[in-house]
């Protein structure tokens, strides 16, 4: 039963310790903003997709990408239509004109969006939130912060499962939900309120259960399992730092 976005598997990516993956995500996001050119963004995306692919989480990443597709499309459309430097018409639909300059800028923005997303997904899809929390708590992060992070990551899939259950209950009380996308969307909107309420209640129950297990204790936590860093973590960390340095140098020297 999945209660988070995490996809369990046994790959080089999964075997990395959480802090290394956190470093990868941070370096990835930093590089996204450091690099300026369209081509650089594309190379970066290729690197991320390779990591996700060899980590066998590419399909789930694809679902997330599809989910934000509308936003990416918006960038292209808006910039293509009305960016101030627009001069060269590229695509024409009657009175509607998309300009080359704007489209390229929109493409860059979309690429940046997907890069940030991919870098973050490398961490989120391949790391058990509990392991990440434990790694942070070992380094002095307050336990409550760790739990907040975990709850946030767990909440969305729980709400998705619950909305499916509520939809079944609505059908069982005579509401037609099968049908066009519009019908289904109309059916989904009223669910958001109670989904949140019920998630909050479940979260409160969980919080209470944790309280009585000494979660709020001021004692320094100890850990059952010793922290393990796999042999290739060192190499990956080195490559992250190297790539980041190369990116910064490349931007300053060659305008990458």
């Amino acid at each position: 039963m999945r209660v988070s976005l995490y996809v369990p598997a046994d790959t080089w990516l999964h075997r990395l310790d959480p802090m290394t993956k956190l470093l990868m995500a941070a370096a990835g996001v930093a590089l996204t903003f450091v690099l300026a050119r369209l081509e650089s963004g594309a190379v970066l995306l290729a690197i991320f997709l390779t990591a996700l692919g060899t980590g066998r989480v590419l399909r789930q990443a694809g679902s997330v990408f599809a989910g934000v597709g509308i936003i990416a499309a918006t960038f292209l459309i808006v910039q293509g239509l009305v960016h101030p430097t627009n001069a060269t018409p590229l695509i024409i639909f009657g009175p509607v004109v998309f300009y080359k300059e704007g489209l390229l800028i929109g493409l860059r923005l979309a690429l940046r969006l997907y890069n940030i997303l991919s870098a973050t997904l490398i961490l989120v899809l391949a790391t058990n939130p509990a392991d990440l929390t434990e790694a942070l708590v070992r380094r002095g992060a307050p336990a409550r912060l760790g739990y907040v992070i975990m709850s946030v990551l767990q909440i969305i899939p729980t709400m998705v499962a619950q909305s499916a259950a509520i939809t079944d209950a609505q059908r069982s009380r005579g509401m037609e939900t099968e049908g066009s996308l519009w019908v289904r969307m109309k059916a989904f909107l009223p669910l958001m309120g109670p989904l949140v309420t019920s998630s909050l209640i479940a979260t409160e129950e969980r919080a209470l259960a944790l309280e009585v297990r000494g979660f709020g204790s001021s004692a320094r936590p100890t850990f059952l399992k010793p922290e393990v860093r796999p042999p290739h973590a060192g190499l990956v960390r080195f490559l992250c730092v190297l790539t980041l340095a190369a990116g910064v140098a490349g931007r300053l020297l060659f305008g990458w």
């Binding site: 129950e205 944790l210 009585v212 297990r213 979660f215 204790s217 399992k225």
Partner: protein
């Protein structure tokens, strides 16, 4: 000195006008199995939460009176501190799984990690708790792959590993099937025999009558009866308690209607007792008939 001392406990939830608990007083000794019964909204859950300090520290509100559990003044002690002496198990087995651990074994370690127990001590405690609750063979399984009864036993084991002197359970079997329910009652009764004080709020009066050696009856926030199951349930079927009608095991109601009393007074409260009394009555009757 009693392990649990509650003296004139009064409590009101925030934004409420009526008292949820209205002058509750009782004590409990080591190894006792205390059952708390009463209709919904009579204060059973509130009392359970008051024994570990969630009332008032988590729920806020207005509180009066004294609650001392395992030597600690609950109103003056943070919940995390109380959790070393008192364990609380809730109704819903599912929301007591932290979701932070991949195996049953690690799940039990959770509370120990956060209260800073040294690793050498953790390992024997985890094994003891799992074996006591019959979960040792399942230690490598994911907590989410357990049945309801197993999950509830896992919640008990997790709390037990903290080595509390008192275990409080708030309607722990309400979501379980009869087999799961029996597992929980049997496990908890075994803990009593080890000297742990168990306090359980429940509706399942038949099983409470069988396992508990004390019953507290709550009604609208007040304690209306405190005694052995025999005393309390005998008074209940005689209509002597304030909460009318008071639930009692079917065998007790039948015994009351037939006038089947125990030799030492009162009515039978368990199946075994009722069978013994019934056989005696029927044997006496057939003897009388044959004369």
């Amino acid at each position: 000195m009693a392990v649990v001392e509650v003296d004139n406990l009064r409590y009101r939830y925030p934004r409420q006008t009526t008292l949820a608990l209205d002058g509750i007083s009782f004590t409990a000794e080591a190894g006792e199995f205390v059952g708390i019964v009463g209709p919904n909204l009579s204060g059973k859950s509130t009392l359970c939460h008051a024994l570990i300090g969630l009332v008032p520290h988590f729920y806020k509100g207005a509180i009066g009176g004294r609650v001392v559990v395992a030597g600690l003044d609950v109103h003056a002690t943070p919940v995390a501190e109380m959790s070393r002496r008192v364990g609380l198990v809730f109704q819903n087995p599912f929301t007591q799984i932290t979701g932070a651990k991949l195996t049953v074994y690690e799940e039990v370690a959770f509370g120990l990690e956060y209260t800073g127990v040294p690793r050498e001590e953790m390992v024997p405690r985890i094994e003891e708790a799992l074996r006591l609750l019959g979960l040792w063979e399942l230690r490598d399984r994911s907590p989410f792959a357990l049945s309801g009864g197993q999950m509830q036993r896992l919640a008990i084991a997790s709390v037990l590993a903290m080595k509390p002197r008192v275990l409080v359970l708030d309607e722990p079997t309400s979501q379980l099937d009869p087999a799961g329910t029996r597992e929980v009652f049997d496990a908890v009764a075994a803990l009593c025999r080890q000297g742990i004080t168990v306090i359980m709020a429940e509706h399942k009066i038949e099983l409470l009558a069988e396992h508990a050696n004390r019953l507290l009856v709550l009604h609208q926030g007040r304690l209306v009866a405190d005694g052995t199951p025999r005393d309390v349930l005998t008074r209940a079927v005689r209509g002597e308690l304030e909460n009318e009608p008071a639930p009692a095991p079917p065998v007790t109601e039948a015994a009351a209607a037939l006038g089947w009393t125990m030799p030492e007074g009162g009515f039978p409260v368990t199946l075994a007792e009722a069978v013994a009394v019934g056989r005696a009555v029927m044997a006496g009757d057939s003897e009388a008939k044959s004369r």
